[in-house]
Assembly symmetry: C2
Homo-oligomer: 429 residues x 2
C-alpha cells in the first residue's frame, strides 16, 4: 500500500513554522508510529523574502496560495493563515476539490463552520480543527467523539491564556490591570494590540465552537455575549479572595431548559473549583454531564509548539482516513436549537458601590434591588463616611432583572458610583 500523503500548508507563522519543522524532522518517527509517510509539498507564505527558521526539505516555498489547492500531489491542506475571508475561501476550495482540511483558525470555524462542514460532507472528506480551541489540549476530539453519546449539560473554560496570565498577576501580586497587561506584552503573552484577547472576543469564538460540539446546535460567533477584563480592578480580586473566590475570564456554555446559553465574561468562581487554581497562561476546560460527571482538561492553550502538536494529530487522523479511501461521514450533525438571550440567563452579581455612608442608604439600595425582583444575599461595608464601599452579592435572578436593579441604583442619592460588577458562579441559589 502506498502510504505517502502530500501535505500543503497555508501560512508559516509561529504555528505553521513549528508544524513544517516537525513534519520534516520527525518524518521517519511519525511513519514508524502511524504507518503514514507525510511529505510537505508546498508551504504558501505572503512574503518569500522573509527569513524562516525552517527548511521545506523536498517541498516548495511559494507565495501562490492557490497552487497549494491545485497541486495534484497535495492530498491534504493545512490552513494556518488566520482570518476568515481569504482563509475561508481557500479552505472551501480545498474541500470542494475533495481534499481534507486541518485548521487552527477559531475565527474561521466559529464564523463559517456550517458551510465548511457541509462542504466537507459533500466531498466526503475530513475537516478537523482540534487546535482551534485550547491550543495543545485535546478537547475537540474528546468532546465530539469520546463524549458523542453524553448529553453534556455545561462546559466552563479558561480558553484565553493572555487574560488568565493578566488575572493571575493581578490576583497574586496585587498588580493593577495596566501593569499586568504591559508585563504580558513584554513576555510575549499579549499582542501589541491586545483587544481581541482582553475584550473576550477570542474566548467568544472558542466558546461558540465548544458549545456547538457539546450541544449539537450550531452557535455562531455573533450569538455569544462577551465582556472583557479591562474593567477589572485588583481591589475586586482581593475582595473576591477574602470571600473565597477567584476571578477568572470564563467561557460558559450551558443548557438552560430547552435552549442553550453561551457567554464569556469575568466570573467569581469558588476557590475549591478546579478552574480557580488554573494559573498563568494555562488553559483548562471543565465539562459536566449527567453520566460522565465532571471532567477537567488542562494544558498549554497557545504557543507554536503545543498548537503544532494538535494540528499534527489532526493531520495524521485525516491522512489515515484519506488512505482508507472511503467517504468520510461527519463526526457530528447539528440540529436547530434555541439560544437563550443573556438577559434571560439566571446570574448572581457581585457589585461594588461607592457610597456616602449615611443613615438610610442601605435601605434605599436594598429597595433598588427589591423593586427589580432581585434579593440580596450579603452586604459588606468597607471604610466609613465618604470613603465607604458597599460590596453586595445577590441571589440568582435573571440578568435583565440584575441590570434593572443597577439602573434603579441611579435614584439613590448617596450612591456615588457603581465601581464594578462581576458575576458569581456558585452552586448556591
Amino acid at each position: 500500500m502506498n502510504t505517502t500523503i502530500g501535505v500543503g500548508i497555508l501560512g508559516a507563522g509561529t504555528v505553521g513554522g513549528a508544524l513544517v519543522a516537525r513534519l520534516v524532522d520527525e518524518r521517519s518517527s511519525i511513519a514508524a508510529k502511524t504507518g503514514l509517510d507525510l511529505v510537505v509539498r508546498r508551504v504558501a507564505v505572503k512574503d518569500l523574502n522573509k527569513p524562516r527558521d525552517f527548511v521545506v526539505a523536498d517541498g516548495v516555498l511559494t507565495d501562490d496560495r492557490n497552487s497549494v489547492i491545485d497541486d495534484p500531489e497535495i492530498d491534504l491542506v493545512v490552513e494556518l493563515m488566520g482570518g476568515r475571508d481569504l482563509a475561508g475561501d481557500l479552505v472551501l476550495a480545498a474541500l470542494e476539490a475533495g481534499k481534507p482540511v486541518v485548521t487552527a483558525n477559531k475565527e474561521l470555524v466559529a464564523s463559517r463552520g456550517p458551510d465548511l462542514i457541509a462542504a466537507a460532507e459533500r466531498s466526503g472528506v475530513a475537516f478537523l480543527f482540534e487546535a482551534a480551541v485550547g491550543g495543545g489540549i485535546p478537547i475537540i476530539r474528546p468532546l465530539s467523539e469520546s463524549l458523542a453519546g453524553e448529553p453534556v449539560e455545561r462546559v466552563l473554560g479558561i480558553v484565553n491564556g493572555t487574560t488568565n496570565f493578566i488575572l493571575t498577576r493581578m490576583a497574586e501580586d496585587g498588580a493593577d490591570y495596566a501593569d499586568s497587561l504591559a508585563e504580558a506584552q513584554e513576555l510575549g503573552y499579549a499582542e501589541p494590540d491586545p483587544t481581541a484577547d482582553v475584550s473576550g472576543a477570542d474566548a467568544a469564538a472558542k466558546a461558540a465552537i465548544l458549545a456547538s460540539l457539546a450541544f449539537g446546535t450550531w452557535v455562531g460567533l455573533d450569538d455569544v455575549y462577551h465582556e472583557g477584563i479591562d474593567a477589572l480592578s485588583s481591589v475586586d480580586m482581593a475582595f473576591a479572595s477574602d470571600f473565597g473566590y477567584a476571578v477568572k475570564l470564563v467561557a460558559v456554555a450551558e443548557r438552560l431548559g430547552t435552549g442553550v446559553s453561551v457567554r464569556v465574561h469575568p466570573v467569581m468562581i469558588p476557590l475549591d473549583h478546579p478552574l480557580a487554581s488554573i494559573r498563568g497562561a494555562t488553559n483548562a476546560i471543565f465539562i459536566e454531564g449527567p453520566s460522565v460527571g465532571e471532567l477537567l482538561f488542562s494544558g498549554p492553550g497557545a504557543g507554536g509548539a503545543p498548537t503544532a502538536t494538535a494540528v499534527l494529530g489532526d493531520v495524521i487522523d485525516a491522512a489515515r482516513e484519506t488512505l482508507a479511501g472511503a467517504q468520510v461521514a461527519p463526526r457530528i450533525r447539528f440540529s436547530p436549537g434555541d439560544l437563550v438571550p443573556f438577559g434571560d440567563v439566571p446570574t448572581k452579581w457581585y457589585i461594588r458601590l461607592e457610597v456616602d455612608d449615611r443613615p438610610g442608604v442601605l435601605a434605599q439600595i436594598a429597595a433598588a434591588f427589591g423593586s427589580a425582583g432581585v434579593s440580596i444575599k450579603s452586604v459588606w461595608q468597607e471604610g466609613e463616611g465618604s470613603e465607604a464601599l458597599l460590596l453586595i452579592v445577590t441571589h440568582r435572578a435573571r440578568e435583565a432583572a440584575q441590570r434593572e436593579a443597577a439602573r434603579n441604583l441611579r435614584e439613590v442619592e448617596a450612591l456615588r458610583n457603581v465601581a464594578s460588577v462581576i458575576r458569581v458562579e456558585s452552586d448556591e441559589p
Copy 2:
C-alpha cells in the same frame, strides 16, 4: 443512506446495563447528534433469570454468547464481560468475522492487545478501548490520535480510584489502611476481595496500555513492575505531608534513554504537582512531551455511568467508520523497543528506619548507603532512645543500588526494622 447499525453486547453488569439503558433511552437523541441509528439486537448474559434494571427494547436477552458474533444483523460487538480467556476468544472471533469491537476490558487489552489489534487490521475494522483506562475520562483517543505526532516523554497516572480513595482517607483523616479499606468496601469503592486494586495489578494493566499508546512500543501486562498500597502507614502519610509531599499510587510510563520504563508503586509527589490534589475516587492522567508541555486529564475513573459514556463514544466512532464502509487503518503501529528493568531505573527513596538511638548509628547507616553508591539527601530523627525513628531521603540512584543499600542495613546492629520504603518523585537529583 441506511444508517442503522445493529449492536450486540457481551455482558450486562454495571457498565453493560448502563450502556443498554443509554442506547435504548437515548436512541433518538444519539441519532439526531450523530446521524447513526444504533439498535441493540442482542445482549448476552450468563444468567437469564437474574433481575435486570434495563429492557432490551426490540432486542433479545440471550445466554448464547456466540449468537452475538453470528447474528448477521449485528454490525458491531461490545465486550463488557471481563476476563481474558473467554472474552478474548469472543472478541477475536468477532474481529475475524469482520465486526468492529469496542471493549472496556483493560486486562484483555493489556494481555492480548497485539493479537486483537492485528486481527482488527487484517479485517479492516476498528478495535476500540477508550473505557479500559480512566473510566469516563477521554484518554485513549487523545493519546493515540490527538498526540499521535508528539514524542511523549512521560505519562503519570492515578488510574485506580479505589486506592486513591483509601490514600485520601489515610492522608486527610489519619485513618489507618485497614479502616480506610473497610470504609471503601462499605461505600462500594472496593470489592469484597480488593486484591486486584490494592496490589497495583489493576493499575499495572492500565499502565501497560498507556505506555503502549504513548511510546508506540507494545508493553505487556507482565512487563510492568508493580507494588501495592497495603504496606503504607498513615505515619508515612503524615511525614510526607510535613516534607511537602502527598503519597499516591502512581502508574509511571517514561522514556529512559532508548528504552521505556513502566511501573506502578506508591510515590511521594510534591504537593504542588497537579496529581497531588486528586482526591477520592477521581482518576487523573498527566502527560509530558517536548512540544505539548504538560497536559492533565481528570474525572471519574470508574462507575457504570461514566464508563458507559466512554464505551458509547467508541461505539459511535466505530459505527461511523463501519458506515463509511472502508477498510479501517489501525490508529497506531507498534515497533519493537527496549523495556528498562526496574533495577536499572533511577529512583529516589524515602525510607523509615526504627533504630536504637545510640552513638555511631547514623555513621553506620550512612556507610550502608555509601557502600552501595547511594548518597543521602536528608536525615530526620523523630523520638529518642529505643523509640527513635530515622527518616532518610536519598538522592537519585539505580533502584538496584537502593536495594543493595537496604540489604547493607541488615549489618547495622542498632537497626531494628526497615519500617517502610516509598519512592520520591521530584525534579531534584
